[in-house]
């Protein structure tokens, strides 16, 4: 080992250590922010290590420098712009987009490495050419799936794409298998020396990514994004085999494995298995065909004024936020309402279901943006025993996570999913635009209960009316 080798080895080792510490720290509230900066620093370090190694050995041609600078400037600039501009409410889409581009990067570099080989893999008769082609294929396959899958996920979360009915037919599994097998065949052609079959592999795996993601319904989207995130780690690790870099392999493998664990954690929160998320398709399509019964018999609707009067008399109010709150961008208005209530000595808590919103932690991010004190956010297990001693529950744009069917009705597709026991409270107000079902497409028994009142309207509009009503009652005016 000569000097550049040793320096690179030490830097890489340090980078891996910092990355591991970074991931570890990101899973604790106290250390998360520093851990993120640490991980970013480790990435920078890894680049410095790589550049210094080549500077010390073969040198870096000036032409390469030019392309490095162009690529990194453009990429970083757009990355910063998007990261700074994007509203907190569309975080899930943003992560999906970033993830897709990461997959695209692995895909491109693998294509480049295949068409214009730059690594010495000459030993004829040895296993090396095979391994090189195999890692390129894996990198292309996983990279393309990550890219197309993430873009579809983003488009669905943005509302640009819905779940088309035809994607729910069983035949889709057959179509996906066809494209999976096509990928496999083109892989075999590729390693046996057929160069052009690389394009077949690219196309087949891209379509496979779309085919697998498109049928998945809104509520399962976070799981899919987390899984795709794990894939992009695997794609990076495969790229590590292509360019012979242990650092890439370790970092990619760490992200891949950690992403898998996170996916598992999210599935548990929804009482779904990973298999059913991936192959079960969207819940809504299944239920409309199997159990069509969804008639409400005992709906009570009430005015904003009544709601304000009930709130005024309350001692303790629990807010249950959901995706509807994010869509209506009503978090700041909500905060104004709860501030008024607090000024009147009413205790306000927020019940956060683990899968409320489109991403775990979505509601935490959203409410944090509106300056809701962190201590008022309560996780499901902690808040559930509190409902019987609660006067008013405000359900804002949440639906499936407060459906008592999950506890009572064994035939319900939701059965077994942990839910918030809001019906235990004295009065429940559900602020909702209409009677449409939640993402599972299932009737919500909560709406039929005698202590539930519906307040129809857009969350933001209702909440600002509520502020007016509370003002009229003299609440929170100081």
């Amino acid at each position: 080992m000569n000097l550049p080798d040793i320096i690179k080895f030490v830097i890489d080792l340090l980078a891996v250590l910092l990355l591991a510490l970074g991931i570890k720290g990101l899973s604790k509230v106290r250390s998360a922010r520093e851990a993120n900066i640490l991980a970013a620093f480790a990435m920078l370090l890894s680049v410095v290590g790589l550049l210094s190694y080549y500077l010390g050995t073969s040198g870096i041609p000036s032409q390469s420098w030019a392309w490095i600078i162009i690529g990194s400037l453009v990429g970083s600039l757009f990355g910063i712009l998007l990261a700074k501009k994007v509203p907190m409410t569309s975080m899930p889409e943003t992560v999906a987009l970033f993830n897709g581009f990461g997959g695209m990067s692995s895909l491109l570099v693998a294509i480049g490495a295949f068409l214009f080989p730059f690594n010495e893999v000459a030993k004829v008769g040895s296993l090396e050419p095979f391994i090189n082609d195999a890692s390129i294929s894996v990198s292309i396959f996983v990279g393309a799936i990550t890219f197309s899958g993430s873009i579809v996920a983003m488009a669905k979360l943005q509302g640009w794409l819905s779940t088309p009915g035809w994607t729910q037919v069983k035949a889709r599994h057959f179509v996906n298998i066809v494209f999976g097998v096509t990928s496999l065949i083109s892989f075999i052609y590729l390693i046996s020396g057929n160069v052009s079959s690389i394009w077949l592999l690219v196309i087949a795996s891209t379509i496979l990514g779309i085919g697998v993601t498109l049928p998945i319904g809104g509520a399962d989207m976070p799981v899919v994004i987390s899984l795709l995130n794990s894939y992009s780690g695997i794609a990076a690790a495969a790229a590590g085999f292509v360019v012979d870099s242990q650092l890439l392999i370790v970092a990619g493998a760490m992200v891949g494995a950690a992403g898998l664990i996170l996916t598992q954690v999210m599935c548990k929160g929804m009482n779904r298995s990973l298999i059913s998320v991936l192959f079960g398709g969207s819940l809504s399509a299944q239920t409309t065909t199997s159990s069509g019964s969804g008639e409400y018999t005992n709906i009570t609707s009430c005015s904003v004024e009544e709601c304000a009067l009930t709130l005024e008399a309350a001692n303790r109010v629990i807010v249950v936020p959901g995706y509807g709150l994010a869509v209506a961008q009503a978090q700041h208005t909500l905060r104004e309402v709860t501030k008024k209530l607090e000024q009147n000595g009413i205790e306000v808590l927020y019940a956060i279901h683990p899968v409320a919103g489109r991403m775990p932690g979505h509601m935490n991010v959203l409410l944090a943006e509106a300056d809701v004190p962190y201590e008022q956010l309560k996780e499901m297990d902690i808040v559930n025993p509190e409902f019987p001693a609660t006067d008013v529950v405000l359900v804002l744009g949440a639906n499936d996570v407060v459906n008592p069917q999950a506890k009572n009705d064994k035939s319900s597709p939701l059965y077994g999913m942990p839910v918030l026991d809001v019906q235990e409270a004295r009065t429940v107000f559900v602020i909702k635009r209409g009677m449409s079902a939640g993402y599972s497409g299932i009737k919500n028994d909560l709406f039929d209960l005698p202590n539930t009142s519906m307040v129809f309207g857009d969350a933001k509009k209702v909440l600002s009316e509520l502020i007016g009503e509370l003002k009229d009652l003299g609440i929170g005016d100081k």
Binding site: V95, G240, D244, V250, A258, P360
Partner: protein
């Protein structure tokens, strides 16, 4: 580096990843996902290697450069957006301590 030692690296890296996050509070699911996502942009190292090793005037320079751009978009954007999210969480306790 020979193949079998790279496989060991892959195996041990995966095991490390499995062990790193055991219990994550739901609050941190999104930032953790976003942070891990930024790290997966480590494939930028592969893009860099490709650009450095490319022959002059090779199309590989352009492919590598585009790949590097995508990777850095992921890395830089990912870390910034994660920081933005985490900044919101960390603001509260400091306020309380004062």
């Amino acid at each position: 580096m020979n193949f079998d030692s790279l496989l060991w690296v892959l195996l041990l890296g995966s095991l490390l990843g499995l062990e790193l996050i055991g219990k994550v509070p739901p609050t941190l699911h999104t930032p953790l996902m976003s942070g891990a996502n930024a790290i997966s942009g480590i494939t930028m190292l592969a893009a860099l290697t490709a650009i450095i090793k490319a022959e002059p005037n090779s199309p590989l320079l352009i492919i590598g450069s585009i790949s590097l751009g995508f990777a850095l978009f992921n890395v830089v954007g990912g870390f910034f957006v994660t920081d933005r999210m985490l900044a919101m969480f960390s603001r509260k306790p400091t306020k309380k301590n004062k």
